[in-house]
């Protein structure tokens, strides 16, 4: 694997995480418990669409095959997607989306903070923009996790259920493979071990502050890095890619 191939894979991974999170967040449009939160969640979705667009565009520009960001978003099949499994899980509950976004936005905040120092100038510029967004997402969702966990018996129960269900998907965020190792040597990629330390520190302070309990670290799901996904990604893509698949190159 050349550095260029590794960088392509790295950007696709980051871009796919943003794109699939954006899709799930956008599903809250008109479904949030209050108008203000409807806007907050769709604002996050828009931030992530923008981030996905930048990262996939950059990926396309370094692949040597000249794909556009749209080619990468709409014309890859499920096993070619490299997002973390946590981002494709369906949100059946408001507590679920808040806990999920708290976990992932905290990860992204520390990830992009580290990537601001990347030796790759484009990646560093995208990181500088993303870190501001992620910081807000992290603050907004953390406040909600505390509000729900330390709220009523019912809201605490639902938030705890979300923590328990999502915890086994958090380990994957920090998995390091050949792509990471090659790019870390070049000073391009972030050190995920270090990010895991920061992430855990934040999360183990926030969860008890929300009167919630941390589950044990037993089984952790994996697969996103090699394109093995949950049953949910296929459904997302069949809807998201419908237009480009049915009417390739459609314009309006």
């Amino acid at each position: 694997m050349t550095e260029q191939q590794a960088l392509f894979k790295y950007c696709v991974r980051l871009g796919d995480n943003a794109l699939i999170q954006s899709y799930r967040l956008a599903e809250w449009c008109s479904n949030a418990p209050m108008l203000e939160e409807d806007l907050a969640l769709t604002n996050m979705a828009l931030d992530m669409t923008g981030r996905a667009q930048m990262l996939l565009q950059y990926a396309g520009s370094i692949s040597g095959e000249g794909q556009t960001s749209d080619d990468l978003a709409y014309r890859r099949s499920e096993p070619e997607y490299r997002n973390n499994l946590i981002s494709e899980l369906p949100d059946n509950d408001f507590a679920f989306v808040m806990v999920k976004q708290m976990f992932t936005s905290t990860f992204e905040y520390f990830l992009y903070l580290a990537l601001m120092e990347s030796s790759d100038k484009t990646l560093a510029a995208i990181a500088a923009k993303s870190v501001k967004e992620a910081r807000y997402h992290m603050a907004h969702t953390s406040d909600w996790v505390v509000r729900l966990g330390d709220g009523t018996g019912e809201s605490n129960r639902r938030a705890q259920e979300a923590v328990n269900a999502l915890w086994p998907y958090t380990g994957e965020l920090f998995e390091t493979d050949d792509v990471d190792r090659l790019l870390q040597e070049k000073g391009v990629a972030a050190n995920l071990e270090q990010i895991q330390i920061w992430w855990r520190q934040y999360v183990i302070e926030t969860i008890p502050a929300a009167k919630l309990e941390l589950p044990s670290d037993d089984y952790q799901h994996t697969g996103g890095r090699i394109g093995v996904h949950t049953e949910y990604l296929g459904h997302i893509l069949s809807e998201m890619q419908y237009l480009q698949r049915a009417y390739p190159d459609a314009k309006w």
Partner: protein, 96 residues
Amino acid sequence: MTNETDLPRWEVFTQIKPGANYMHAGTIHASDKKMALQNARDTYTRRGEGTSIWVVPSDAIVASNPDDKEMFFDPSNDKIYRLPTFYVMPEGAKAI
């Protein structure tokens, strides 16, 4: 439209640029100050409208009663000498 589960209302004021007056942007719902600021941000400043936000609990606003409109505002309407345009510029005065 209100119901029992609605959170308290807050008035939102945004400042377009440093030094400018804060302008009323609208109303949001929130349970506490932090949430009020975030909801104001998400509702009113996502198209580059602001550099700063104030949120004020709606019940902290003291409003004049529409029934007092005449008592409050009519007396000023017929006193044109309250307006600078009533006065003639003295000849030779340049920097007024």
